[in-house]
């Protein structure tokens, strides 16, 4: 047999082997969950613990359903959905990313609704290396601050909040630019801000209250941001337009909006709808 022919034969054998291997994998999956329907949710990174909990509650009420949740920055999910990622539900940490998905045609216009609120908080390493005692101290000289990048909802909210502070009595007009002078890093995800503060890499960071709420055992300090300048982040949820599990998606939304669902979210530091912040 000539060399090229032999190689061709080898190639064919490889392709066939690969094909059977893939077949086996998909078979294994269907065996694992013989009749279970899958509800696929894309949710903002800040919802990780709360939505995992809600998913378990949902599965306990619907035994035939398996909830699969993919957590990432809302802006990342919006990109994925716009590029056609298949799924049933999208929970976004701001309206902007929801609107991006609506304009890409993956969520029906008007189908999205607000489901929970969140606020910002200042966090410091446990030993407070920057000696920050109140929110206004973050303009101090020689401080190292970390924010989320403006591409991330938490980062955009942080900038809004700093802007607002400049217009408030009791704050310097240059408050925002003074704070930004201290920023040493704009992280690509709000949880990275939290981790770096836990590690003590910087003197302070701004995250969601819900991010800090899960870390009570960890060695960090929290300083509230005054209500007059704090923002209310509104989270939005919507079914994906071509979801094969439309009814299930609606059921999950109902759970999130129900009093027990709101209580679960509240446990993780979120502010319930209608509850004044």
């Amino acid at each position: 047999m000539s060399v090229p022919l032999r190689c061709l034969k080898l190639l064919i054998i490889l392709v066939v082997l690969l094909g059977t291997a893939c077949g086996d994998i998909s078979d294994a999956n269907s065996v694992k969950n013989p009749r279970k329907q899958q509800l696929t949710i894309y949710a903002a990174a800040s919802l990780a613990e709360a939505f995992t909990h809600l998913g378990e509650v949902f599965e306990s009420t619907q035994p035939d359903v398996e909830v699969v949740i993919s957590f990432a920055g809302s802006q990342q999910i919006a990109q994925q959905l716009s590029q056609g990622a298949p799924g049933d539900l999208f929970a976004s940490a701001n309206e902007k990313q929801m609107n991006n998905v609506i304009s890409s045609g993956r969520v029906k216009s008007g189908a999205h609704q607000e489901f929970i609120h969140n606020q910002l908080i200042l966090i410091l390493p446990g030993d407070n290396p920057g000696q920050i005692n109140e929110f206004g101290d973050i303009t101090g000289s020689d401080l190292q601050l970390i924010l989320a990048d403006e591409a991330v909802p938490a980062g955009a909210y942080s900038l809004q909040m700093l802007e607002r502070a400049g217009q408030q009595p009791g704050f310097d007009e240059q408050f925002k630019s003074k704070v930004l002078e201290n920023v040493v890093s704009y992280e690509e995800n709000v949880r990275a801000v939290l981790t770096k503060i836990i590690l003590g890499e910087a003197d302070a960071g701004i995250v969601y209250v819900s991010d800090a709420a899960g870390t009570q055992e960890l060695d960090i300090q929290m300083i509230p941001i005054p209500d007059a300048i704090n923002i209310t982040a509104s989270y939005y949820i919507a079914p994906i337009i071509d979801s094969p599990n439309g009814q299930l998606a609606q059921d999950f939304i109902s759970l999130v909006l129900s009093p027990p669902g709101q209580d679960i979210l509240n446990e993780y530091g979120f502010v319930k709808l209608g509850q004044h912040e």
Binding site: V184, G200, E201
Partner: protein, 276 residues
């Protein structure tokens, strides 16, 4: 001189064996697969747009920072990597295989692992953090952190190539030079380096290109700040979510840099091969 043995990167000028056309046909799918995404990137952005985006301060800063830091990290890799490669090639370590594995390790580590590991070593609370702070060195969130990451992930390319280059030199050559009264630095300067320079150059270029593309460990260890730690790959990642045009512009520039460097290195190596 045993020159032929000293190089391994450039392929011998094609020994004229005629392959059947089938081989070339079978090569096509992989060639197309490798070039299509690159082509798509170039087609997606118009030259006018590219030039316009180049004027943006963030874009220029990212390019400048990337070129500056990779230049320094490549120099550090060459300076500190050459003695290691030479000792290693002469079997100077008791646990040669262990050393070899350690050198290989950064090549296979996920960048995230490298980032976390560097944070544990050089971070403010890392094992060396206190010592560095006492010395007045603040590494976190500075270009120094970017350079540390690049040296860590890119050094193996140079060290491996240099080790191979050194070990291909006939030991008898060095021994006879020593017998003739050449000092050890003289031997290294006038014999070892000239005989292995193609391996050294090839390794340096590979290290530089790897450093230029470093992303995951940088964003974890050095953070992301325009002009300070936001290298081209970081600006591309953030740009992908903020402004796709910036991501496309920087991607095109990065590919041009890497392609040119690799191509020139191959050209030089190849020419040197032909002339010997």
């Amino acid at each position: 001189m045993n020159r032929g043995k000293t190089r391994q990167s450039p392929p011998a000028p094609a020994p004229q064996v005629r392959l059947s056309g089938l081989w070339r046909v079978l090569s096509l799918p992989m060639l197309i697969f490798l070039s299509l995404p690159i082509l798509a990137l170039f087609l997606r952005i118009s030259p006018a747009n590219l030039v316009e985006n180049l004027r943006q301060p963030d874009v220029l800063q990212a390019i400048g920072l990337s070129l500056g830091t990779t230049l320094i990290s490549t120099l550090i890799i060459i300076l500190a990597g050459t003695p290691l490669a030479y000792s290693h090639s002469r079997g100077q370590f008791r646990f040669n295989r262990l050393v070899d594995t350690l050198i290989d390790l950064p090549l296979v580590l996920p960048p995230a692992v490298a980032g976390v590991a560097l944070l544990m070593a050089f971070g403010r609370r890392g094992i060396l953090g206190g010592v560095l702070a006492d010395l007045g060195l603040n590494i976190a969130f500075t270009p120094i952190a970017v350079i540390i990451v690049q040296v860590f992930v890119a050094a193996p390319f140079y060290i491996k190539s240099a080790t191979l280059g050194f070990s291909n030199i006939d030991l008898e050559l060095e021994q006879s030079a020593a017998l003739d009264g050449a000092s050890s630095p003289q031997i290294f300067r006038f014999l070892t380096i000239p005989l292995s320079w193609s391996a050294l150059l090839g390794g340096s270029v590979m290290s530089w290109a790897r450093a230029l593309g470093e992303f995951g460990a940088t964003i974890i260890f050095a953070g992301n700040f325009p002009g300070r730690t936001q290298t081209m790959p970081l600006a591309i990642y953030i740009g992908f979510e903020l402004d796709l045009d910036i991501a496309l512009t920087l991607s095109v520039i990065l590919i041009l840099f890497s392609f040119t460097a690799l191509f020139i290195a191959k050209y030089i190596l190849n020419r040197e091969w032909m002339s010997s």
